[in-house]
């Protein structure tokens, strides 16, 4: 499942909404990204997250399909927020559900790597008197 939304999310509720569908899930790996208070030695006040929503849905869906081809996955969840986010706010959740640990670990990592490389989201960090658009690095 892929959700692109402004609203915050509850990690327990989101994981449980998928976990409760399958009794053969033994392993869930999640990654949660947050807005940090500092970046590149500057104090961050907030960020603006822009998305090309229809394309992001397509790209994230492709990434999940590729991950399912590489690992034995029961389900996947990606939630990515957009809009104005404050320090400490959650930005993204990726959760991989599988029978065994290795599949969930590796696929969660893989999905995050491709999300950061290809999914059309852009962060603008707002500092005290200025703003800056970011570019993901590897």
């Amino acid at each position: 499942m892929i959700k692109i939304q402004k609203e915050n999310f509850n990690v327990e509720t989101e994981i449980e909404s998928i976990k409760s569908l399958y009794s053969d899930i033994g392993a869930v790996t999640t990654f949660i990204g947050y807005v940090r208070d500092t970046n590149n030695n500057k104090i961050v006040k907030s960020i603006n997250l822009e998305v090309y929503e229809e394309m992001a849905l397509k790209e994230l869906n492709k990434i999940i399909i590729k991950a399912k081809q590489k690992w034995s996955l029961i389900d996947c969840l990606i939630i990515h927020r957009y809009g104005n986010l404050k320090v400490n706010d959650k930005i993204v959740l990726v959760a991989s559900f599988s029978k065994h640990r290795i599949d969930s670990f590796e696929s969660c990592n893989y999905i995050m790597n491709y999300l950061k490389k290809d999914a059309p989201f852009w962060k603008k960090e707002n500092y005290n008197n200025e703003s800056k658009w970011l570019t993901n690095t590897n």
Partner: protein, 81 residues
């Protein structure tokens, strides 16, 4: 043809999107020339090849033909996650 701009590209184009139905642009290379002409500040970014182009929500890497009902998106390197 619908052209969509994202992130700091919009600071140069001063719009989110524009319709180019009356202008004859039949491939991405033509579109680049059009953009450089209309927005001189885009020139160096287009020449440095740091921008990404998508047609109908799919990345393209080479020059590609454009049809009149295509949605073309132009954006800088992404920074989600």
């Amino acid at each position: 043809m619908q052209i969509k701009y994202f992130a700091w590209i919009k600071d140069i184009t001063l719009c989110d999107e524009e319709k180019l139905d009356d202008i004859k642009i039949n491939d991405i290379e033509n579109l680049k020339l059009f953009l450089i002409n209309k927005y001189p500040n885009l020139k160096k970014h287009i020449q440095q090849k740091i921008l990404r182009f998508a047609i109908n929500k799919e990345y393209i890497s080479n020059n590609s033909n454009l049809k009149n009902d295509d949605e073309v998106a132009i954006f800088p390197p992404v920074s989600g996650g």
